[in-house]
């Protein structure tokens, strides 16, 4: 990978060049390199397969130049990008594009202007152990890890197969998922005293195992900042297979309202996919958030606290600076049920502050009174399924989303609280089907689901037989328990890592589906 020192030099030299252009009011030069490596696992015992489908990678690098400049009596803002070129020539070409494509944005009034003292913090939250692995070692590592996952899953199955006297073909076993390594480096320099850089790595593993002929499905996953950070590919494979074995014998249950314990994957789907967009200041500005005009109000059970924390030590989503150059931090979103903050980037925060009358209607309070709650700590250029990509504009993204309670409960206490109900381990394709502003959601319960009887996990529920039909805005008011068992969890195509505990809710509506099966 291109060295961080090269990115730092090109942004520093590039900014000097850009500043020398006439008419420049403010400017920012950003450079990045990203490397995404994936081992795609497709192992089946009843169908021909390849085991490890292919070790693969995608790479990008480039320079972005953003300028705010005077042209005649107009102030224009422009963005230009030059791919696969980390040099002053690349900066010059990106600058030319930014000037050519610049527009007059009435809401734009400059790039991030941090307090100069902010940049005294140099602590990094990541290791760079994976950063400079060469291609040969990487190929061998990926092949080794992927086949170890498969071996672990087979060893996890063996006892069940022997017990039931089943051949591999009779098991109808599926193991699917991947090992995913993201390596990213970025540097930026702006006319507003920012000159900074960061590099990080994250290793993600996500597996789905299924005994298809028994309609039993389970999952296992892990997220780490390095492969040797307590990670065992073999154990994850084994865990996935055992989760599938535990789900054998699943039964249908009727559709109705249940007391539900959602497991970490399901919590990630509900809070990361569905609740989080409503806590984005951009969505508040658009006007479609279910929290429109509700700042400071009680919007959820007092048991619920939600925040984003990019400074979480060891957190797979941790970052020290944003892609605008802002120091990251902990952004409280919901505290003991009260709406107390939003994720934002600098452009959106400034726009809300500048249009304070209009924003007060959208937020429910004058934004100048809640500057702390709309701090632009989440402006990132996440794109392409992982990485901080120069070609992408800044968007508002979470990093480590944390769900917790000031009265956390053990798993046993949560199950006791529910008494009789259901445990939903994994939801699928859960979307705001009635539009964001309605809060209406739907998705299906596909794996790791159990009946809860007398405060204990009982028999498994057949996958793909229940569809959740409810309203996310109402569901968070019906939370009756939150666990102390946060697990770093990822979702397909999501940017953030959700640190998800068990969450119990009352009166969650499910419909029985797929009755013709």
């Amino acid at each position: 990978m291109i060295e961080l020192s090269k990115l730092k030099k090109v942004t520093k030299d590039g900014l000097k060049y850009v500043k020398s252009e006439s008419g420049i009011i403010e400017a920012l030069v950003y450079a990045s390199v990203n490397h995404r490596t994936v081992g795609r696992i497709v192992y089946t015992t009843h169908l021909p397969c390849n085991g490890l489908e292919e070790p693969k990678s995608e790479e990008d690098c480039g320079i972005a130049v953003e300028i705010w400049f005077k042209k005649g009596n107009k102030k224009l803002v422009g963005f230009g990008h030059e791919p696969n070129e980390i040099s002053l020539d690349g900066v010059k070409r990106a600058l030319a594009k930014a000037k050519r494509d610049a527009v007059e944005d009435p809401d734009f009034n400059g790039f991030l202007k941090p307090d100069k003292n902010d940049h005294s913090i140099k602590e990094t939250f990541n290791t760079n152990k994976l950063m400079d692995v060469d291609f040969q070692k990487e190929a061998e590592l990926l092949a080794k890890l992927s086949w170890e996952v498969i071996e672990g899953s087979i060893d996890g199955l063996e006892q069940y197969a022997k017990q039931k006297n089943l051949s591999p073909k009779d098991l109808g076993f599926i193991l699917n998922g991947d090992n995913f390594i993201i390596r990213e480096r970025m540097a930026l320099a702006s006319t507003n005293w920012i000159e900074d850089s960061e590099e990080s790595t994250v290793f993600l593993s996500f597996l789905t195992a299924m005994l298809e002929k028994r309609n039993a499905k389970g999952s296992a996953w892990g997220s780490r900042i390095a492969v040797d950070d307590g990670f065992s590919a073999y154990e994850i494979g084994k865990k996935a297979a055992l989760a599938a074995v535990n789900a054998v014998g699943g039964k249908r249950i009727v559709g109705r309202k249940y007391k539900v314990v959602f497991g970490p994957q399901a919590v990630t789907e509900l809070f990361g996919n569905l609740l989080l967009p409503n806590l984005n200041l951009g969505m508040m500005d658009f006007g479609a958030s279910i929290f429109t005009a509700k700042y400071g109000q009680n919007v959820a059970s007092p048991l619920l606290t939600v925040y984003d924390d990019a400074t979480l030590p060891g957190g797979a989503g941790s970052k020290r600076i944003t892609c605008e150059g802002c120091l990251t931090g902990k952004t409280k979103l919901i505290e003991r049920g009260k709406l107390v903050g939003f994720l934002s980037d600098f452009r959106t925060t400034s726009k809300m502050l500048n249009k304070s009358k209009e924003s007060a209607v959208k937020l429910g309070v004058d934004p100048h009174e809640i500057r702390h709650a709309i701090n632009p700590r989440n402006g990132f250029r996440f794109s392409e399924g992982g990485g901080r990509v120069a070609a992408a504009g800044v968007g508002i993204h979470a990093t480590n989303l944390v769900i917790e309670s000031h009265r956390p409960m053990t798993e046993g206490e949560i199950l006791s609280k529910v008494g009789d109900g259901i445990y939903i381990g994994r939801l699928w394709y859960t979307y705001p089907v009635g539009g964001i502003s309605s809060g209406i959601i739907s998705g299906t319960a596909i794996a790791d689901n159990y009946v809860i009887r007398n405060g204990k996990l009982a028999e498994p529920i057949l996958p793909n037989t229940l569809r959740i039909e409810d309203n996310i805005g109402e569901m968070i008011k019906r939370i009756i328990g939150i666990g102390n068992n946060q697990v770093p969890t990822i979702l397909w195509a999501s940017d953030e890592i959700t640190h998800a505990p068990w969450v119990a809710m009352d009166g969650v509506n499910f419909v029985e589906i797929n009755k013709g099966e």
Binding site: V38, R40, Y43, T44, L47, P48, C49, G51, L52, E54, P55, K56, E58, E59, G62, E82, P83, N84, E85, K97, R100, V103, E104, D105, D107, F135, A139, L142, A143, K144, I174, N176, F180, T208, M210, E212, G287, A288, G385, Y429, Y431, V433, G434, G435, I436, S437, S438, I440, I441, S442, T444, P463, N464, R467, N471, W492, A493, V511, N514, G516
Partner: protein, 517 residues
């Protein structure tokens, strides 16, 4: 960088083909090179936000190594303008990396085979079904060449489309618009002698609106997209499936949002009721519940963890091929040669000629979309559906233009025959079950039908059913078959959001309606 620069690469690779692609191990190697030029603009409430005119250049290499048991490795990269002159060197380096990955995979696969006996019987060598190595050139079709569209022209277009929605009615509080036009050229080379040079255009507009009535009731957020695989005439001359210019399309969506702002939430209909679906909505049904489960990689469990499986295929013996899955009037297919939306091509990303695949003929399930690697597993011929977002990504089995075939009944007659039912127009975000065996798809508008006449409109309801029950209930198909563009069909890890086409006529069947509040 211009797409015409690929001429240099084409001639250089043609001349250097034996040197670059010949491998002493006789490994299979293919190379995809892709370049694009385009311009896009974003406007909010009629004001400029950002405009960007840029190009892209990417390269992807697949190698199948036979050192142990044949297995694949892949390497993809975004390239820069300076990489043109060093292309052969870069291609050689990338081939070496892909070879290292394939070799590590191949050796590990052989080791696994040796160690795991019966559990390794299903692990097979990678084998590509033979296709004729084609040499061909396919030009892009356009009137208004995207390369000649200026940034200013696109900025003004975005602003005027956004303003058209905003000024439609005072209920419209927000109107965000993204417009784009581009041209892409791809060259595919293989060690089997294929040399395919294909180009295509794509132009589209996505509109997001928020409406709210004067009583301050719950707002309505709607979005929709139109476009075509043409030049900018797709938007300026209404050459798209909606037969509307960008401004006219914006007014249509704004009009729907205004109508819904005063509408009551949809009632809940717990038992199947007659629903008439307009072509825009049925096209999404063709995509979600026929197209997706007809992708052979899903059927072969290769997407169990992410995109899901297929209810049409359990294993080689137990599947729906040759069985009734819908009413006798239901015929559905995927056809990359069908124009009108996106997803049109002559050859897929491994050089297989594209052809129409019938999924369902007169209610009987027939065939899946496949790739050269997957086709032999079910004894099929490759049918040209292996596609990637760009050359740096591994192709996956993707829809081209998936559609339900038209009937011969006038849509007005289909509605007039309904005593009690609902007419459902357009679509929003759907939620589909894991094997696509059940769905919940939200129309934008749901009109009551009483005694053959349209009644009041409802908001936020969803049409929901088990897929087979719905297909079996289809009793009328209109003579208004239309193809629509879908801009962002997601699949793969990292996620690839791809443009595809979908189509269908007005259709009548039976489904449940989920409550709109």
């Amino acid at each position: 960088m211009r797409i015409s620069d690929l001429d240099l690469i084409k001639s250089s690779l043609s001349a250097g083909l034996p040197e670059i692609l010949t491998d002493h191990n006789k490994n299979y190697i293919d190379i995809r090179v892709e370049a694009g030029e385009g311009v896009g603009a974003y406007s909010e409430n009629g004001s400029s936000k950002v405009t960007s005119r840029d190009w892209s250049f990417s390269l992807g290499v697949r190698v199948i190594d036979k050192s142990g048991i044949p297995a694949a490795g892949f390497y993809g990269r975004q390239l820069g303008g300076n990489d043109l002159k060093n292309f052969n060197k870069i291609a050689r380096e990338m081939i070496e990396v892909a070879k290292a990955r394939a070799r590590a995979n191949s050796l590990a696969k052989a080791g696994f085979k040796k160690k795991y006996g019966k559990f390794a019987e299903s692990v097979m060598p990678v084998f590509l079904a033979p296709v004729k190595a084609v040499v061909d050139t396919v030009p892009a079709i356009y009137e208004k060449d995207p390369r000649k569209v200026t940034s200013k022209e696109m900025t003004e277009l975005a602003k005027s489309v956004s303003a058209a929605a905003l000024s439609f009615n005072s209920y419209i509080k927000r109107s965000d618009v993204v417009v784009s036009t581009g041209i892409t050229r791809q060259i595919f080379f293989s060690s089997e002698g294929a040399l395919i040079d294909q180009s295509w255009c794509s132009s589209g507009v996505t509109i997001f609106v928020l409406s709210q009535n004067n009583s301050g009731d719950k707002p309505v957020d709607l979005y929709h997209h139109t476009g075509n695989q043409l030049g900018l005439e797709a938007l300026t001359k209404a050459k798209n499936s909606h037969h509307k210019t960008g401004e006219e399309f914006a007014r249509q969506i704004a009009g729907e949002a205004v109508l819904l702002a005063d509408a009551k939430p949809s009632p809940e209909i717990n038992k199947p009721v007659t629903v008439v679906l307009d072509p825009d909505l049925i096209a999404l049904f063709a995509h979600e519940i026929i197209g997706h489960p007809s992708e052979l990689d899903r059927a072969l469990k290769m997407e169990t963890g992410y995109a899901g499986r297929s209810w049409l295929f359990s294993d080689l013996k137990n599947n729906m091929v040759g069985k009734q899955v819908g009413s006798s009037i239901l015929t559905a297919f995927s056809d990359p040669t069908l124009t009108g939306g996106y997803g049109v091509y002559k050859y897929d990303d491994e050089g297989t000629p594209a052809k129409r695949v019938y999924h369902i003929k007169n209610g009987i399930y027939h065939d899946f979309m496949n790739s050269r690697q997957t086709a032999p597993t079910i004894g099929a011929q490759p049918n040209g559906h292996y596609k990637a977002n760009n050359a740096s990504a591994v192709p996956l089995i993707r829809m081209s233009v998936s559609a339900i075939a038209g009937g011969d009944t006038l849509p007005s007659k289909i509605i007039s025959e309904v005593e009690n039912g609902y007419y459902c127009v357009g679509h929003r975000i759907p939620s589909i079950s894991e094997s696509r065996e059940n769905f919940q798809i939200a129309p934008r508008l749901i009109y009551e039908i009483k005694n053959g006449r349209m009644g009041q409109v409802f908001r936020d309801g969803r049409v929901t059913s088990d897929s087979k029950d719905f297909f079996m209930s289809i009793d009328a198909l209109g003579n208004d078959f239309t193809v629509f563009p879908i801009p962002n069909c997601g699949k793969g890890q990292p996620m690839q959001a791809k443009q595809v086409g979908n189509g269908g006529p007005t259709a009548r069947g039976r489904a449940r309606i989920a409550r709109g509040d």
